[in-house]
């Protein structure tokens, strides 16, 4: 590929992941030596319908988003989901635990039936179209983003951790949160963040999504060992992983 054209599109999200790209600072120049941006609302004013790589930020929360995403997919050779909102639905999926009418009433009150406020249960990008690469996390780690871009530019398959956060947590020599009687989602969550949360004294809340084959049965059984209930565990899981494989 000779210097591919890139377009970034945002859906329902806080745009924090795009901000991580902006935060690359001087490395942005390096990034631009590898790709050419043709649409990026946060950084440039151009709009384009011709691009090679489409970067999708945010989750799909309305029927019209779904159509827009399909159009983008048709135009792009490569589609990247950027951040938890796009890769797993992210925090936006919390609402899927409630009825859509309740959700609309509590957010928009009287205005809930206005046509532009339509909403449906949140979906991740891969629930609608084929996603070629995922940049996990809430927010993303811009070094991982840079790594994936370089891989695409050189035609190499990026190696993204498939194993749980515990691996990196051990490398950081942290004391396990379970030893302090806390529930941590590290054993079922995909690594790649350098165990950001346990390294700062907090439990992992699963923002990089589950590993491919999370052992949910073990999850339930160990709760007993640590004097916790299934509700304790579910409270932590719903934040980022509502409806994703927890049976």
């Amino acid at each position: 590929m000779s210097k591919p054209r890139v377009a970034i599109f945002d859906f329902a999200c806080c745009e924090g992941c795009q901000l991580q790209i902006v935060n690359m600072e001087e490395e942005i120049i390096d990034l631009l030596s590898v790709v050419t941006p043709v649409e990026w609302r946060e950084a440039i004013s151009d709009q384009s319908t011709e691009y090679d790589i489409a970067i999708i930020e945010g989750s799909i929360t309305r029927p019209e988003d779904e159509e827009r995403l399909k159009t983008i997919r048709d135009r792009a050779k490569v589609l990247i989901a950027l951040g938890a909102c796009a890769t797993i639905g992210g925090v936006n999926k919390l609402k899927n635990n409630f009825g859509m009418d309740d959700v609309k009433s509590s957010v928009y009150g009287e205005a809930r039936d206005m046509p532009h406020l339509s909403t449906y249960p949140t979906k991740a990008a891969d629930e609608i179209v084929k996603v070629d690469y995922k940049v996990h996390g809430c927010p993303i780690d811009n070094r991982e983003f840079a790594y994936i871009v370089k891989c695409i530019a050189t035609g190499k398959e990026p190696v993204i951790p498939y194993y749980p956060v515990c691996v990196e947590c051990k490398e950081k020599e942290n004391v396990c949160r379970f030893e302090y009687g806390e529930i941590c989602l590290g054993p079922i969550t995909r690594a790649g963040c350098d165990a950001r949360c346990p390294s700062n004294g907090a439990w992992c809340f699963g923002c990089r999504g589950f590993v491919d084959d999370p052992n949910m049965n073990a999850g339930r059984e160990i709760l007993e060992k640590y004097g916790k209930t299934v509700e304790d565990l579910m409270h932590r899981i719903v934040l980022f992983n509502t409806g994703r494989k927890e049976e």
């Binding site: 590290g186 052992n215 059984e221």
Partner: protein, 339 residues
């Protein structure tokens, strides 16, 4: 071989003296646990620690290291040649280093590991506070003879400083007021050693060490593998904290010019789901059960046959690191012995 006697205060003065000359990694508190870290002054050094979260292996085989840097087809090996002192290594961890030395110096001599190893001076320390999970007494590693440059043993309120090698002598050189330990004090270390051999047994081990490889030979279909693996997260914690595990992965990381970069080696582990995935997509240990079983075969048989001793030194780190509590080697080997 020479023996000196030091009070705790003398010892700290000696460490401060060392710190003015060389990098010293010693055990310090990390929250309410312990870890080896670079020392700044002797006052933070803890000689009464029970166990460190990670073994001192991290100084020979770091979690991540650059093996070489490349530009186009050209490359330069990156070898870390800085001398350092590891201060306060417990005997079981030293036994693990002895095994790792055999592995990394045989077959394909690993220059990255061996250069660091040859530049290290090791001050060993007999255990003063047993950790809750330590079973090194079962593994013949509660006490160690040799392998160290200096061994410190606390007897009553003073330390016996056993200087064993030229590197050890080098460390003690220039210290004023060194007092030679009287033979009675040197001999009284046996009391400490006998005591450690019997108290560092947090879990009973039913089979004898020489029995373990044979037991494994006939236990491939034993129900314990599936039973325990049922609860396994494939999280790798048990192998990441293990002083005798040395699996690694190698990946290239390119710079923005896309033609230069670094080759990075990082820890890997046999408990991880795709560890045994080979080109063509075949994973020769697909199931949790196969991976779980493999760890015990590796420790009790495969590596054991290579290095001449069971590849578990009984540090107990895997026992505390495993969230579902299924990683205790004693429990598993006992089950194999029972039925």
């Amino acid at each position: 071989m020479s023996y000196y006697k030091m009070s705790e205060e003398d010892l700290r003065q000696w460490v401060d003296h060392l710190l003015s000359k060389v990098t010293v990694y010693g055990v310090q508190a990390k929250g309410d646990r312990f870890a080896f870290n670079a020392l700044n002054d002797s006052s933070s050094l803890r000689l009464d620690y029970d166990v460190t979260i990670l073994p001192p292996k991290k100084y020979f085989l770091p979690p991540k290291e650059t093996l070489l840097s490349y530009k186009g087809q050209k490359y330069d090996s990156v070898v870390d040649e800085k001398p350092f002192v590891l201060f306060g290594v417990h005997p079981y961890d030293l036994a693990a280093i002895r095994q790792m030395d055999k592995i990394f110096s045989s077959d394909n001599n690993d220059i990255h590991y061996m250069t660091r190893r040859n530049n290290a001076t090791i001050v060993a320390l007999d255990v003063q506070t047993p950790s809750a999970h330590n079973f090194s007494g079962n593994m013949n590693t509660a006490v160690i003879e040799g392998e160290y440059d200096i061994l410190l043993t606390k007897v009553d309120s003073s330390y016996v400083v056993d200087v064993r090698t030229g590197k050890g002598k080098e460390l003690i050189k220039g210290m004023s007021g060194l007092v030679t330990a009287e033979m009675a004090l040197v001999d009284s270390r046996h009391k400490v050693w006998e005591e450690n051999k019997s108290r560092l047994r947090a879990y009973p081990l039913k089979p004898s060490l020489s029995e373990i490889p044979g037991l494994l030979d006939k236990s491939r279909e034993h129900p314990v593998w599936a039973e325990k693996a049922e609860l396994c997260f494939s999280c790798g914690s048990c192998v990441m904290v293990c002083p005798t595990c040395y699996c690694f992965d190698v990946q290239d990381e390119a710079e923005w010019d896309l033609s230069s970069g670094k080759r990075i080696r990082s820890w890997d582990g046999c408990m991880l789901e795709r560890f045994a995935l080979v080109a063509g997509g075949h994973n020769f240990r697909k199931t949790k059960e196969e991976r779980y079983r493999h760890r015990y075969y590796r420790k009790g048989k495969y590596v054991a046959e290579k290095v001449g001793e069971i590849s578990c030194v009984g540090c107990g780190r895997c026992v505390s690191a495993c969230v579902p509590g299924i990683a205790n080697p004693c429990e598993v080997y006992n089950r194999l012995k029972e039925d």
